[in-house]
C-alpha cells in the first residue's frame, strides 16, 4: 500500500454516522476510488496511518490479497485498539452508499474514531494507493462515550448550604479533566480527576445552587453527557 497526498478526484464528502440499535451505519459521498479503507480506533490515541499500514504489511498481506478480500475486517491490532476494514466500491454502491459496522465491534467505555480513506488499486503494478483528505480532521467521525452522572443533594440542618453528592461511573483510561462540574452562579468549571470516578464525591454548595456536569471543550470527541 502507498499513501498518496490529497487529490480532488478521491475526495470524500458528507461523511455521516448513525447508530441504529446495535449497528453503526456509515455513509459518504465520493468521486472516485476502487476501494475504501475504514479505520476504527480508540480516539484517545494518535492516528498514524503509516504505522498502521506497516503493521498490516508485516502481517504478510499483499495489496493483491487485500483488494480481493470479500469485505470486512482486514486487521486488528494486538490490543484491539485499531481495526481496519476494506470495502469495495461496487459493494458500497450496491448497499446504497452505506457501510455498516456491527455493534459488538465497539466496546463500552472507549471513545472511538472512524476514519475513511478512498483508495485506488493499480492492477498493473498490484499496488493499492490510499488518498489522504485535504485536512486531517476531514473524513473522521467520533463515537464518544456516553456518561450518565448521578447527582443528588442532601440538606444540611440549620445551614444555608447543602451537600451535592456526585457520582460518575468508572471509565478506563479516562482523560484527566475531560469532565467538569459546574456550580450555578460560578463561572469556572471544576475538572474531575480519575480519583473522582466510581465513587461518590461531596460538594458543599449554597442551598439554592445546583450542580451540572459537562464535557470539557477539548474532549467532546471522547465523551458526552
Amino acid at each position: 500500500m502507498r499513501i498518496e497526498t490529497y487529490r480532488d478526484d478521491f475526495q470524500l464528502c458528507e461523511y455521516s454516522l448513525k447508530r441504529n440499535g446495535g449497528e453503526i451505519a456509515l455513509s459518504w459521498k465520493y468521486k472516485g476510488g476502487s476501494h475504501f479503507l475504514i479505520f476504527l480506533y480508540d480516539a484517545r490515541r494518535s492516528f498514524k496511518l503509516q504505522q498502521i499500514i506497516e503493521e498490516i504489511e508485516k502481517q504478510g498481506h499483499s495489496d493483491r490479497d487485500i483488494v480481493r478480500l470479500p469485505g470486512g475486517s482486514l486487521h486488528i491490532s494486538g490490543d484491539g485498539s485499531m481495526k481496519v476494514y476494506v470495502c469495495r466500491e461496487p459493494e458500497f454502491a450496491m448497499k446504497g452508499q452505506c457501510y455498516t459496522l456491527q455493534g459488538h465491534e465497539i466496546k463500552r467505555g472507549i471513545p472511538y474514531g472512524i476514519r475513511i480513506f478512498a483508495a485506488q488499486y493499480d492492477r498493473e503494478r498490484e499496488m493499492l494507493h490510499i488518498y489522504c483528505p485535504k485536512e486531517e480532521e476531514d473524513n473522521v467521525q467520533y463515537i464518544p462515550v456516553r456518561i450518565e452522572p448521578e447527582i443528588r443533594y442532601r440538606p444540611v440542618l440549620l445551614s444555608r448550604d447543602r451537600i451535592c453528592l456526585l457520582q460518575i461511573p468508572y471509565m478506563q483510561d479516562y482523560i484527566e479533566g475531560a469532565l467538569e462540574y459546574y456550580v450555578s452562579g460560578v463561572r469556572c468549571g471544576y475538572p474531575l480527576s480519575r480519583e473522582c470516578l466510581g465513587r461518590e464525591i461531596q460538594i458543599v454548595i449554597p442551598r439554592d445552587a445546583a450542580v451540572t456536569v459537562r464535557v470539557a471543550d477539548s474532549c467532546k470527541k471522547y465523551y458526552r453527557i
Binding site: 451537600i163 456526585l166 484527566e176 479533566g177 456550580v183 460560578v186 463561572r187 469556572c188 468549571g189 471544576y190 475538572p191 474531575l192 480527576s193 480519575r194 480519583e195 473522582c196 464525591i201 461531596q202 460538594i203 458543599v204 454548595i205
Partner: protein, 669 residues
C-alpha cells in the same frame, strides 16, 4: 519658560546643518524695522553665465531686504552653450529660487522684463524715465567675449535713458588659468569700449584679489556680490520722506571703476558656533553631574518597583489589569470536592489555627481536583496570554519604556559596569509571601493558587526583563557616542583669535541660560527632551534646535552690532567705544580695493558711501557731520548687524591693468 513652546520643528542630518540653521536664525533676528527705501527706477538684473548666476542669492537677498518694492525687480539668467544662448527668468516660491527657461532671445527677454516693470503702477517705480540694467559676469567664463558682446548690444528698446552697468567679477587666481582668461576678457572689453563707447555703459572691475594681497576664497566671495548689490542700491534709491541725493549717486556711473569695501558686522558665525558648542557641552555636563555616587541596589529596586518578595509593580499591574478578571474568585475555592465531611473539617481546623496544610494531603482530600482546578483557572490563562505575539510585544515595549523612564542615559551607562549584578537582581525568583494571616480556608487556597499563576507569569517575564535591559544599555551607549561625535564636529569649527571675547561672554550666557531653564523630572534629568535615548540623530538634533531657538530669544542675541560690541567689550572706555566703529571700518577698508595690480592705474576716489541702519549711534554721528552729502552719502540699511563702507574709484588708466600679473605673457589675439 517652557523651552518646547517655540514650536520650531526642523530636521537635521548632522551638527553642520544645525550650526548653519542656528546662524541663519540669528541673522533673521537682526532685521531692522522695515525701512523707507525703494528702487527709484525700474531695474533688471542680468546674470551672464553660470558662475555669476550661482551667487544670485547674495544679490537678491540684499535688494529684497532694503528695497520695499524689490518684488517688482526683474532677474534674468543668460547662458551661452556651443549651440545656443539660453535665457531664463527667476521665480521664487517662498525662499526658494528657481529659473524658468523662456523662449525669447536675450534682447527680447530684456525688453519684456522692462515692459513688465513699466506697466506697474506709478507708485511702484516713481521714475520711469530711466531704466537700470545691471549685468554681472564672472571674467573666468570661457565664453566671456560672447557675453560681453551680448551686454553691449542690450538695451531696453524704448525711449528711456538706460543706465547700463557691467560688474566684471575678475578672478585673479592662477587656478585653471583663470587670471589669464580674466585678463584676456578685460583687454577685449577695453578694446570694444573704444570701438563702441555709446554702448559701453559703466564698467565695475571687482576682483577676488585685494590690494592688500588677500584673496577672497570661495567662502568669502559672497562679499563681492553683496558689494555689487550695494552699488545697485546706491545707484537708484529713494528714501521716503527724504530728498533724493541724485548728484551724489551720479558718482556711481560712467567710465571704468573699482571699489573698496569695508564690512564691520556682529560676529554672528562665531556667536553661533560658540553658543551651540557650549549649549551641547553644558547640557551634557549638567546631566552628568546629576549622577553622584552611583546608584545602589536599593535605589534600583525602588525605581523598578521591585518588592520584598521580588514582585514588580509593572508585572503586578499587568496581572491585575489583564488576567485577574478571568480568574476564579476566592469564594469559588469553597466548591472544591472533599472525600468526606471529616476531611473538610480537618482542613478547616488546621487553617483556622494558622497552621500550614501539606499540599499533597490537600490534593488527596480534594480527590486530585484542586491541582486540575489551579491548572485550568490560574495557569492556563497565563499560558493563553503569553501565546499571543501582540501581548508579548506590548510587554516588551512596556519594559523598555520603564527602563528609559526610570533611568537617565548617564545612569544607564553607569549601570552597564554592574550589568551582571543587576541581571542577577532581575532574575531573583518571585517567592510566596504567605497568605497574610488569613484563616478563611478559601482565601488560603486562593492565595496559593494565585501565587502559582503569578509565579508562572514571572517565569515568562524575567527573560524579557533581561533582554530589554541589555538593549537599553546598548542604546545608552550609542546615544552617548552620538552626542560626543556631534560635539567633536562642532569643536572642529575654529574661532579666530580676535573673537576670544565672543567665547568668553557667550559661554557664560549659555551656562546661565541652562541653569535657569532646567526642569528636573522624576528621574533627575533636567532636559529630558534632549536626553531621550530613543531619539535617532535627526530627532536629537531637532530637540537641541528647539532649545537653541529659545536661547537666541534672549535679548543679547538681538542686539545690533554696536550694542553687542558694547556688551561684549564692557571693559572698553567710552572714548574708545565711540571711536571703535570708525577704527574698525578704517582697518577693514584699508587695502580692501577689489583689484590687485602691479602698476598704478590712476585710481581716483569718486565717492564714499556708508550703509548703516539709521538707529545706530555711528549713523547719527555721521548724519550730523558737515561732510554728509558732500564727501560721503549715508544709506539707511535695513539690517542692524553691521555697517558697510564703500569707496568708489574711477580708473583713469585702465590700460595699465594686468589681471594676470606682469610676469605672465599676454597672448595677442
Amino acid at each position: 519658560m517652557d523651552v518646547m513652546s517655540t514650536m520650531e520643528e526642523r530636521k537635521f542630518q548632522d551638527a553642520g546643518e544645525l550650526l548653519a540653521a542656528c546662524r541663519e536664525k540669528m541673522r533673521e533676528n537682526q532685521h531692522g524695522e522695515s525701512g523707507g527705501n525703494y528702487a527709484l527706477y525700474p531695474t533688471v538684473i542680468v546674470f551672464l553665465g553660470e558662475k555669476a548666476r550661482s551667487h544670485v542669492q547674495y544679490v537678491k537677498q540684499t535688494l529684497d531686504e532694503n528695497w520695499n518694492n524689490a518684488d517688482y525687480l526683474q532677474y534674468l539668467g543668460i547662458t551661452v552653450t556651443e549651440k545656443s544662448i539660453k535665457c531664463q527668468t527667476l521665480t521664487t516660491k517662498g525662499k526658494e529660487i528657481t529659473w524658468k527657461t523662456c523662449k525669447s532671445t536675450a534682447p527680447q527677454a530684456i525688453c519684456i522684463a522692462v515692459v513688465e516693470m513699466l506697466t506697474q503702477e506709478d507708485k511702484i517705480f516713481p521714475d520711469k524715465t530711466r531704466i537700470k540694467m545691471e549685468f554681472l559676469l564672472d571674467a573666468a567664463e570661457e565664453a566671456g567675449k560672447t557675453y560681453y558682446d551680448l551686454f553691449a548690444e542690450m538695451s531696453s528698446g524704448l525711449q528711456t535713458n538706460d543706465l547700463k552697468t557691467l560688474y566684471l567679477m575678475a578672478d585673479q587666481t592662477p587656478e585653471d588659468k583663470n587670471h589669464i582668461t580674466s585678463d584676456k576678457l578685460f583687454q577685449y572689453i577695453l578694446k570694444r569700449r573704444q570701438e563702441m563707447p555709446e554702448r559701453s555703459g559703466t564698467l565695475y572691475l571687482i576682483s577676488n584679489y585685494l590690494e592688500s594681497g588677500k584673496i577672497l576664497g570661495e567662502k568669502e566671495l559672497w562679499q563681492n556680490y553683496r558689494l555689487t548689490a550695494d552699488i545697485i542700491l546706491l545707484g537708484g534709491n529713494r528714501t521716503r520722506g527724504k530728498s533724493q541725493t541724485a548728484d551724489y549717486a551720479a558718482k556711481l556711473y560712467n567710465g571704468i571703476k573699482t571699489a573698496s569695501y569695508a564690512l564691520v558686522t556682529k560676529p554672528i558665525d562665531e556667536i553661533g558656533t560658540v553658543s551651540l558648542r557650549y549649549l551641547l557641552s553644558v547640557l551634557y555636563e549638567q546631566e552628568r553631574s546629576r549622577l553622584q555616587g552611583g546608584i545602589t541596589e536599593e535605589e534600583i529596586r525602588r525605581r523598578l518597583g521591585i518588592g520584598q518578595t521580588n514582585t514588580m509593580e509593572m508585572v503586578e499591574r499587568l496581572y491585575r489589569d489583564t488576567l485577574q478578571k478571568q480568574l476564579p474568585r476566592a469564594e469559588d475555592m469553597g466548591y472544591l470536592p472533599f472525600m468526606n465531611a471529616e476531611k473538610q473539617k480537618e482542613l478547616l481546623k488546621t487553617l483556622t489555627k494558622g497552621e500550614e496544610f501539606p499540599q499533597a494531603l490537600l490534593d488527596q482530600y480534594t480527590l486530585g481536583v484542586r491541582p486540575l482546578f489551579v491548572q485550568k483557572g490560574f495557569l492556563q490563562p497565563v499560558e493563553d496570554y503569553w501565546e499571543k505575539e501582540e501581548n508579548r510585544e506590548i510587554l516588551r515595549q512596556a519594559v523598555s519604556d520603564l527602563y528609559c523612564q526610570r533611568f537617565s542615559s548617564f545612569e544607564l551607562m553607569e549601570l552597564s559596569s554592574k550589568q551582571k549584578s543587576i541581571e542577577r537582581l532581575l532574575m531573583e525568583p518571585y517567592h510566596y509571601g504567605g497568605c497574610g494571616g488569613k484563616t478563611d480556608y478559601r482565601e488560603v487556597l486562593y492565595a496559593a493558587a494565585e501565587y502559582a499563576g503569578k509565579a508562572l507569569l514571572y517565569e515568562k517575564v524575567k527573560p524579557v526583563l533581561l533582554e530589554e535591559f541589555s538593549k537599553v544599555l546598548l542604546q545608552a551607549k550609542a546615544f552617548d557616542e552620538q552626542y560626543q561625535q556631534i560635539l567633536r564636529q562642532l569643536q572642529m569649527e575654529s574661532i579666530p583669535v580676535e573673537a576670544q571675547s565672543v567665547e568668553k561672554k557667550y559661554a557664560a550666557l549659555v551656562e546661565k541660560y541652562v541653569m535657569e531653564h532646567q526642569k528636573i523630572n522624576e528621574v533627575g534629568t533636567a532636559f529630558p527632551e534632549v536626553f531621550c535615548m530613543r531619539q535617532n540623530r535627526e530627532e536629537f538634533l531637532g530637540s537641541v534646535w528647539k532649545i537653541l531657538c529659545d536661547l537666541i530669544q534672549e535679548d543679547v542675541y538681538r542686539y545690533d552690532f554696536e550694542r553687542e560690541i558694547e556688551w561684549r567689550m564692557s571693559d572698553m572706555t567710552e572714548v574708545k567705544k565711540e571711536a571703535f566703529v570708525k577704527l574698525e571700518l578704517q582697518k577693514s577698508l584699508t587695502g580692501s580695493t577689489r583689484l590687485k595690480n602691479v602698476l598704478t592705474y590712476g585710481k581716483m576716489v569718486a565717492g564714499c558711501f556708508y550703509l548703516i541702519n539709521e538707529s545706530a549711534a555711528y549713523a547719527k554721528h555721521l548724519a550730523g557731520l558737515e561732510a554728509n552729502g558732500r564727501d560721503f552719502m549715508i544709506f539707511d540699511l535695513n539690517r542692524t548687524d553691521g555697517v558697510e563702507q564703500i569707496e568708489i574709484y574711477n580708473i583713469t588708466k585702465p590700460e595699465c591693468i594686468h589681471l594676470a600679473g606682469s610676469g605672465e605673457q599676454r597672448d595677442e589675439d
